[in-house]
């Protein structure tokens, strides 16, 4: 061992055009090996397939949810420039919470984080869904397509569509918080099903030509919207072939402090993220 190291250090000395004294070179060598070992240990310990991915268009409320869950208070936020990765204590262990920016130019980053994701939370702003329906559906379509095309050897992530900001919904009566959530999820579900059906129609409408241009290259065509339902039916989330998609209505209010302990024991009455927490606990 020592002779080997000697040889190595001699070669190092020859290869480096520096005037380095011998003991220094040895120290250098030791440090280098330690750094290399540490580097690989750190890489190896990176746990896979156990993270929560927050996606959704800009201004849906992803970063606000992240700050509420991780810091226990809802900080005000603006459009994100980069991905946030936090550790969320859940079920007595740390779970990675990844917040992907929603801006169209940088949202493609979700593909890098997809292999690690166990849960995808698609955040939708329930108060503006009727205006932004087609934009939201376009992004959701990309996500669904990506999930369907995951290799069969890997487990596909569970998908939750979060009808966020449902405290901002305007309705004639003043309903209780639970029915507000219901209202929001129904509205989001209806709008998204309609928009996704439009997209599916557009992509399946065809010219009846068969033999032309058939070469074996993989196409950039977005699929992932097939249903198990009877043919001719319009798109329904319950019949989606890629797995189960669930809906939950949530809200947060900026500046408010959330007591995590209260929420866990179930008596946090005004916490909009309670449903999300219980859902995450059962799926992680």
């Amino acid at each position: 061992m020592t002779s080997q190291r000697g040889i190595v250090s001699v070669t190092v000395m020859e290869s480096l055009p520096l005037m380095v004294p011998k003991p220094l070179a040895i120290i250098l060598l030791v440090v280098i090996t330690m750094v290399v070992v540490l580097y690989f240990i750190r890489r190896g310990s990176h746990t896979r397939g156990n993270s929560i991915m927050l996606v959704g268009i800009s201004d849906a409320g992803k970063t606000a949810i992240l700050s509420t869950l991780v810091y226990g208070q809802t900080l005000s936020s603006h459009a994100s420039l980069q991905t946030n990765t936090c550790i969320l204590p859940l079920n007595k262990k740390g779970v990675t919470l990844v917040d992907i920016p929603g801006h169209p130019r940088i949202r493609a980053q979700f593909r890098e984080h997809l292999p690690d994701a166990k849960v995808i939370v698609f955040v939708v702003d329930a108060s503006s869904i009727s205006r932004n329906g087609s934009i939201v559906a376009e992004y959701l379509h990309q996500i669904l397509h990506a999930v369907v095309t995951i290799l069969p050897s890997q487990n596909p992530p569970a998908i939750l569509i979060l009808a966020h900001k449902c405290d901002l919904l305007k309705s004639g009566t003043v309903p209780s918080t639970s029915s507000l959530g219901q209202l929001a999820t129904n509205r989001v579900r209806n709008v998204l099903e309609r928009e996704l059906e439009k997209r599916r129609q557009s992509h399946t409408r065809s010219v009846a030509i068969d033999e032309l241009g058939a070469d074996g290259e993989d196409s950039s065509e977005l699929g992932g919207l097939d249903c198990n339902g009877p043919p001719g039916e319009s798109f329904k989330f319950v019949e989606w072939e890629g797995g189960v998609i669930e809906f939950i209505g949530t809200w947060v209010s900026i500046g408010e402090k959330v007591d995590l302990e209260n929420e866990k024991s179930g008596n946090g009455s005004n916490d909009g993220l309670k449903d999300l927490m219980t859902w995450l606990e059962t799926h992680i």
């Binding site: 990176h46 993270s51 991780v70 990765t85 740390g94 087609s134 241009g213 290259e217 950039s220 065509e221």
Partner: protein, 669 residues
């Protein structure tokens, strides 16, 4: 004076913010706040190098602290001339980082958690983050800083008003700095002495650097444009006058050609005798290159293939090679530790990128981009943006400077090229055709206008797009609105004839799938387009493609005519056709077309607000090999996506752009 000031993390969390007027505070709580639009419109799109961002009456200035991933933003009324904003940002940066360094480091680390057990433990201990307590005292410190700078600005103004010889913008030296801060003692936790020290440190730093970056850059940006505007025009005018004198005997087209001449020149109709033999069917095969035909997927949808960049050579680090010389030169000048120290620093991951480190690398990158035919201005801005986002960043592990810069550049180019609006033309056409109508309305066809300078291939690529639409089962009407160039209508007539025969392919009723709407030459293009759209509506066409005459971007009467066409017909898409061969000119063409359309079409009655270009079609793509810089220039200028690229002579030579391929081509050697 100020309206809003905030300190935000790049991940989106606002650490601290304050609005000084009720309107501003109302605005900032909505999603259209100046900070939000700054990030969305400027920072994400790679326009970091710009000096100032203006939005809705506000001017916004910002600065980065890259190692802590913080952005400091100040917004104020645009009409105000606030001289101290740059100083304020600098001072805020230094003081804030100094005061809250440990907290900020912990905060940033928590947003980059790697799930190792140690982090989990520390996190569960400190589940409760108390931002208010942590940032306690900052309000007071901020007040002092602001007041100090405002006082100083007021003093400067007074001095300037008096005919004193003292140059006002230079920071008042030494002792007066401490006096600027209000002396009344505050019960706050912040040490006033420290603030004073920090301000002093900042002053020294600013002085050392030789002032702000503003003036130098402003000058360089203005100069080339002024020059370009004035000189070439006058030159060419003179040249034309000279030429015309020498060409008296030329036969102009104002006398009518004889019948026989017309017949021999018109190739658009086939002679009767030819039709018996169907000689055209042989030619037709030449028009479609079967090998490059698009893919028909399992749903039967005909798709344009993606343009691919094939690179046999291993993607070398060009930049590395280009820079190896200059980069090594700058290295020995590092500190007292010398090479060994920097080596250690490299391995322990504590090397911080400085401006001096980045300068040669960025210069090399700029040269490289320009070699790839990226316009000079754009290459400069992109590299400046990359540099600004890297200064102060720590280089970890075994990364070298150029690898870091290369990665950042590739990210930046990807962001610029990635479309922010949907480029799915088929979907938007179908969405329009399927949208519900009231009984009184009639279904309008989807109209696409092709604009561009002369000879870039508008008509050719219009016919390619037409072929693609026909393959997808749409009925297409082509409106011949190029009423100027001789042969333009005949050219389209030939295309329509070919397409109506080609579109067979087993589809059956190819007849009537494509038609030409022509009204001859010399007429008003806007009127013809309007008639064509009406004709398309009445005869059940799905799409109307409007071909316009090519025009130079500086020719104002023609640009006004184009804007009139746009405002009268309000087409669903305006595609700018540009050639990939264009270099520096791309910037000028696109800015002027976009601006002319916006300025002149707004004046019309039909559309309330002027509208610009919706997308680009880049032609002659096959001629440039990997010098695809025009794509970057064009998308940077307009912020709009490249919808198609034209890659050859046949109808199938239309491709969709894959961003990854273009980035690879730009960065490769």
């Amino acid at each position: 004076m100020l309206d809003h000031c905030s300190i935000v993390h790049k991940g989106g969390i606002v650490l601290w913010s304050r609005s000084f007027t009720p309107e501003a505070s109302q605005l900032t709580s909505s999603s259209s706040s100046p900070v939000n639009s700054l990030i969305r419109d400027a920072l994400i799109e790679g326009r970091v190098a710009e000096e100032k961002y203006e939005k809705g009456g506000y001017a916004v200035k910002w600065t980065f602290v890259n190692d802590l991933e913080l952005i400091f933003v100040v917004a104020y009324q645009r009409i105000l001339q606030l001289t101290y904003v740059d100083d304020l940002l600098g001072a805020l940066k230094i003081v804030f980082v100094e005061l809250f360094q440990p907290f900020l480091a912990a905060f940033v680390a928590s947003l980059h958690a790697i799930s190792s057990s140690a982090v989990v433990l520390s996190m569960t201990e400190a589940t409760r983050w108390n931002f208010e307590n942590a940032l306690e005292g900052w309000d007071i410190a901020f007040d002092k800083l602001l007041k100090g700078l405002e006082n100083k600005a007021a003093e400067d103004r007074k001095l300037r008003l008096r005919p004193a010889a003292r140059p006002p913008p230079t920071p008042s030296p030494g002792s007066s700095d401490v006096d600027l801060l209000p002396t009344e003692s505050q019960p706050g936790t912040v040490d006033e002495q420290q603030i004073a020290r920090n301000v002093e440190a900042l002053k020294n730093r600013l002085r050392g650097r030789g002032g702000t970056r503003a003036p130098g850059r402003g000058r360089t940006r203005k100069d080339p444009r002024n020059g370009r505007d004035s000189h070439p025009n006058s030159d060419s005018d003179v040249a034309i006058k000279h030429k015309q004198k020498g060409k008296v005997l030329r036969r102009w087209g104002d006398e009518l050609p004889s019948e026989s001449e017309m017949a021999s020149l018109d190739f658009s109709y086939e002679k009767l005798s030819d039709q018996d033999h169907h000689p055209a069917s042989n030619d037709l095969e030449a028009l479609v290159d079967e090998a490059s035909r698009g893919i028909r997927n399992k749903d039967g949808l005909y798709e344009v293939r993606d343009w691919e960049f094939t690179n046999d050579k291993a993607a070398d680090d060009v930049i590395a090679r280009a820079l190896s010389g200059s980069y090594k030169e700058s290295k020995p000048a590092q500190g007292s530790l010398g090479t060994l120290g920097s080596l250690f620093a490299r391995f322990t991951g504590s090397k911080v990128l400085s401006e001096d480190d980045l300068k040669p690398v960025l210069e090399g990158m700029k040269q490289h981009l320009m070699k790839k035919n990226v316009a000079k201005d754009i290459a400069e801005k992109v590299c400046e943006g990359v540099g600004e986002s890297l200064v102060g960043r720590k280089v970890g592990g075994f990364q070298t400077t150029y690898a870091t810069v290369r990665l950042a550049l590739s990210n930046s180019i990807t962001h610029i090229l990635t479309p922010k609006t949907s480029t799915d033309l088929l979907f938007s056409i179908r969405a329009k055709l399927m949208s519900p109508l009231t009984s009184a309305q009639q279904r309008m066809p989807y109209s696409i206008t092709f604009v561009g300078v002369n000879g870039v291939g508008k008509s050719t690529n219009l016919s390619k797009v037409c072929f693609w639409l026909i393959q997808n089962g749409f009925r297409v009407l082509i409106a011949a609105c190029d009423t100027f160039r001789s042969g333009a209508v005949e050219q389209l007539r030939v295309h329509v004839r070919n397409l109506s025969m080609l579109s067979v392919g087993g589809a059956g009723d190819s007849e009537g799938r494509v038609e030409l709407y022509e009204r001859g030459y010399g007429k008003d293009a806007a009127g013809i387009a309007k008639e064509a759209i009406a004709y398309g509506r009445d005869n059940g066409f799905d799409v109307v493609l409007i071909d316009t005459a090519g025009r130079m971007q500086d020719n104002e009467p023609l640009m006004r005519a184009l804007a009139k066409l746009v405002s009268v017909n309000n087409p669903d898409k305006i595609l700018f056709v540009g050639e990939a061969l264009v270099g520096n000119e791309a910037v000028d063409q696109l800015t002027k077309f976009d601006r002319a359309l916006r300025d002149f079409s707004g004046a019309g009655t039909a559309v309330a607000k002027g509208r610009g270009i919706d997308g680009m079609l880049v032609t002659k793509w096959d001629t440039v090999d990997d010098k695809v810089g025009a794509a970057l220039s064009m998308t940077y200028v307009t912020g709009q996506p490249i919808v198609f690229v034209g890659t050859g002579q046949t109808y199938t030579d239309l491709r969709q752009l894959r961003v990854a391929n273009v980035v690879e081509a730009i960065l490769s050697d």
